[in-house]
């Protein structure tokens, strides 16, 4: 912290990126709606344009912040604001995942057994869906999309769990290395983390191909397919984001950013990666195994 900014809370005076972000968000969503509502399947060019605008905004916005940070415009109090912003953002992510986990638990403990005639569902079962047993996994009494098989948890998912766990170990090693100011070590382990994350995403894509082509397990395979793909899909999306962020952090470390005693950007991304890994453990346990 330089002398000039020590007691001054840095307040930027103009922000040109938010309005770009709003336009990007709107174009993205309108493009998505256009594609969704179209009678024939079309390439959602408009959505891609919107995502492009959003990416432009993110690079510009974060670029400004990184520049200001390296110019020592931020004092510890600004730093704390960023930390708080980050943790409460992640808390909101937790709640977003909670909604989908909630749907999974509700389906497994309530709606599927009820449809199978348990509790007050007896009449429903006998009148509407006679013969439906309500065993998980299920595509419901309507047997939507026909017979399907599920992914064996002890093949690809097991490998994926190992990959992601290993990536958490590597990023922790990188974290320790950064604190000890061993920069080449840090860079090495960060690159290892990105590679492991990328392989995870690749295998996850492989698993989806397998599910669709071999097992006939699709998004429309009843409640099992719905919860399976939405949970793993949103998780995969977050892994992708996390891997991109770690890649950016790696570049920053190579450029000489961050100090052993002040490296909030690093810690935030590392924490995000840990969060994504823990969500995966939850998925592995509740979606694949139990």
């Amino acid at each position: 912290m330089s002398e000039a900014s020590k007691d001054q809370y840095y307040v930027p005076h103009l922000a040109q990126w938010p309005i770009v972000g709003s336009i990007g968000l709107t174009v993205t969503f309108l493009g998505a709606i256009q594609a969704l509502n179209s009678e024939t399947s079309i390439t959602p060019w408009m959505m891609f344009v919107g995502i492009g605008i959003l990416l432009w905004m993110m690079f510009g916005w974060f670029g400004d912040v990184i520049k200001e940070s390296e110019e020592k415009l931020y004092n510890t109090q600004v730093d704390t604001s960023f930390r708080m912003g980050m943790i409460w953002f992640i808390f909101s992510e937790v709640m977003f995942f909670a909604a989908f986990f909630g749907a999974l638990f509700y389906a497994r403990t309530f709606s599927v057994p009820w449809l199978g005639g348990e509790g007050t569902g007896l009449a429903t079962n006998e009148v509407l869906y006679p013969g439906y047993e309500g065993v998980w996994p299920t595509n419901g009494p309507g047997e939507l999309n026909g017979r399907f098989e599920i992914i064996d948890p002890y093949h690809l998912p097991l490998v994926n769990t190992m990959l992601l766990l290993a990536s958490s170990v590597t990023i922790t090693i990188a974290h320790h290395a950064l604190r000890a100011n061993q920069r080449s070590q840090t860079i090495f382990w960060l690159i290892a983390t990105v590679v492991l994350g990328a392989v995870f995403i690749f295998f996850q894509a492989e698993e989806y191909v397998l599910a669709y082509q071999e097992f006939n397990l699709k998004l429309n395979s009843g409640i099992y397919g719905s919860t399976f793909f939405m949970l793993t899909g949103f998780h995969g999306f977050h892994v992708t984001l996390g891997a991109i962020m770690i890649a950016i952090i790696t570049v920053r470390v190579i450029k000489g950013h961050f100090k052993p005693e002040s490296h909030f950007g690093f810690e935030a991304v590392a924490w995000y990666w840990h969060f994504v890994d823990v969500v995966w453990l939850g998925l592995f346990i509740f979606v694949y195994i139990l």
Binding site: R83, M84, R147, L165, F264, V278, L281, Y288, L290
Partner: protein, 70 residues
């Protein structure tokens, strides 16, 4: 066995949360964030090994690997 897995998972989430707490509190100077993150990674590895062991020993039954139409 199922419950043991869930309990370990809760411990993992707790240490992750503690790391988050110290991320704000510690201002990047204290050791606590990285320490709790290390704990959480270690716990996760333990849990993972335990799941493999439990599956091998037949303590937990996986979901029906192949779903048959009734």
């Amino acid at each position: 066995m199922k419950y043991l897995i869930v309990i370990i998972l809760l411990f993992i989430i707790f240490s992750l949360g503690s790391a988050m707490f110290y991320l704000v509190k510690g201002q990047g100077k204290s050791q606590n964030t990285v320490r709790f993150l290390t704990v959480r990674v270690a716990l996760s590895v333990v849990l993972f090994l335990f799941i493999i062991l439990a599956a091998k020993m037949g303590w937990i039954e996986p979901n029906q690997p192949v779903f048959m139409k009734p």
